[in-house]
Symmetry: C2
């Protein structure tokens, strides 16, 4: 399955994921004052081939100059345009645990086009708590806030057993994309996209790789 619903050719998921990686590297380059970059340099960062970088970008147009490379600032704007993050997205967080607090205090989201405008929980002890720039509210107030701020994306950090029912509330409130930290699958209408985040899985991948690496490889 390719994820694009756009009008042009279908865009492979792996390409879209790599665009985010290119963007991270371009942000770092821009911060260091670098003006130009070649596909080879971008490839090194993502550990792919240079041809892959060029092909990923070519899916959306022609952005480089032959013999020269890509303009760092231009390419940042191009990728932001592709990803849809030139305008800011309002985002809510549901489930006010430790992770929620960490996310609310993280500055990177805002810089990259995602403003966390509300946080919700059902636990009365948490409600009213200030957390970074936002106050934790009861989940009953969620739909109002979502409608008022035109929120289309949500981050779900509730326990696994509460994930499905909470996600349904989000969908009912008009949310179209959910970043799901809960270790539970979500069944939702097809227009609601889900991006599953599994932190344990990253350690498991490393465990697998380290376990299966033998001396001399």
């Amino acid at each position: 399955m390719t994820s694009s619903g756009g009008l042009g050719g279908a865009i492979p998921d792996p390409s879209v994921r790599r665009l985010s990686a290119y963007l991270r590297h371009l942000e770092n380059l821009a911060a260091s004052g670098v003006k130009r970059v070649s596909s080879r340099q971008l490839a090194e960062y993502v550990k792919g081939g240079d041809a892959q970088v060029r092909r990923d970008l070519a899916l959306f147009g022609q952005f480089g100059r032959r013999g020269v490379g890509y303009d760092v600032e231009d390419l940042i704007q191009v990728i932001r345009t592709i990803l849809g993050t030139r305008a800011q997205w309002n985002v809510v967080v549901v489930g006010a645990g430790q992770l929620c607090q960490a996310l609310l205090r993280y500055r990177g989201f805002k810089e990259r086009g995602f403003a966390l405008v509300g946080a919700f929980d059902t636990d009365p002890r948490k409600i009213g708590t200030q957390c970074g720039p936002v106050t934790i509210r009861h989940i009953d107030a969620m739909e109002d806030i979502i409608r008022k701020h035109e929120v289309r994306l949500a981050i779900l950090t509730v326990p696994a057993q509460a994930a499905q029912q909470t996600a349904e509330k989000l969908a009912a409130a008009g949310i179209e994309g959910i970043m799901n930290f809960a270790g539970a699958g979500l069944s939702l209408p097809p227009h609601v996209h889900v991006s599953q985040v599994d932190l344990t899985a990253h350690l498991e991948q490393l465990s697998f790789l380290v376990s299966s690496t033998r001396a001399g490889q």
Copy 2:
């Protein structure tokens, strides 16, 4: 590139990633008292086909019973064995920010075979702070702890510009796998595996999907 360094056939990266997903679902099933599961049920959770589930598992052996399915508890142990998480891994965290605190307080890692045994920073104001079950120590004490506890995996949560030099210290201390939250690529000897975590990228994927979805798709 396939990641396996094992002796048998090479194992595709996507298959290993899905094993973690199957494991999450199996853990949930076990918690609900479910005893048996079919490839079709597992596939639904991961949004793949049933044949894919069977093929992923068949890479490592035959674990099901024809006409019946898979035993949930058995399959959990099988996947843990494959991933190398039946024995516990000791893990350190470097960079004692909000995220570090959230990770240190998260119980899921311990339950799944990853014990966070130390946390390190360079900021003198943070050193000595208690954080969940561990005390923040100066990074100079890191190598000792790593050697003493036979730590092979690390989580890196330092700012992007400090990531490379900190990762080099980890590699020098004998770390073989790094879960990297910093938005910076790491260049390390090939025996040190890196799993890049980019939380912003998840929101960017959703932004792309939501932006490119038109009514009626």
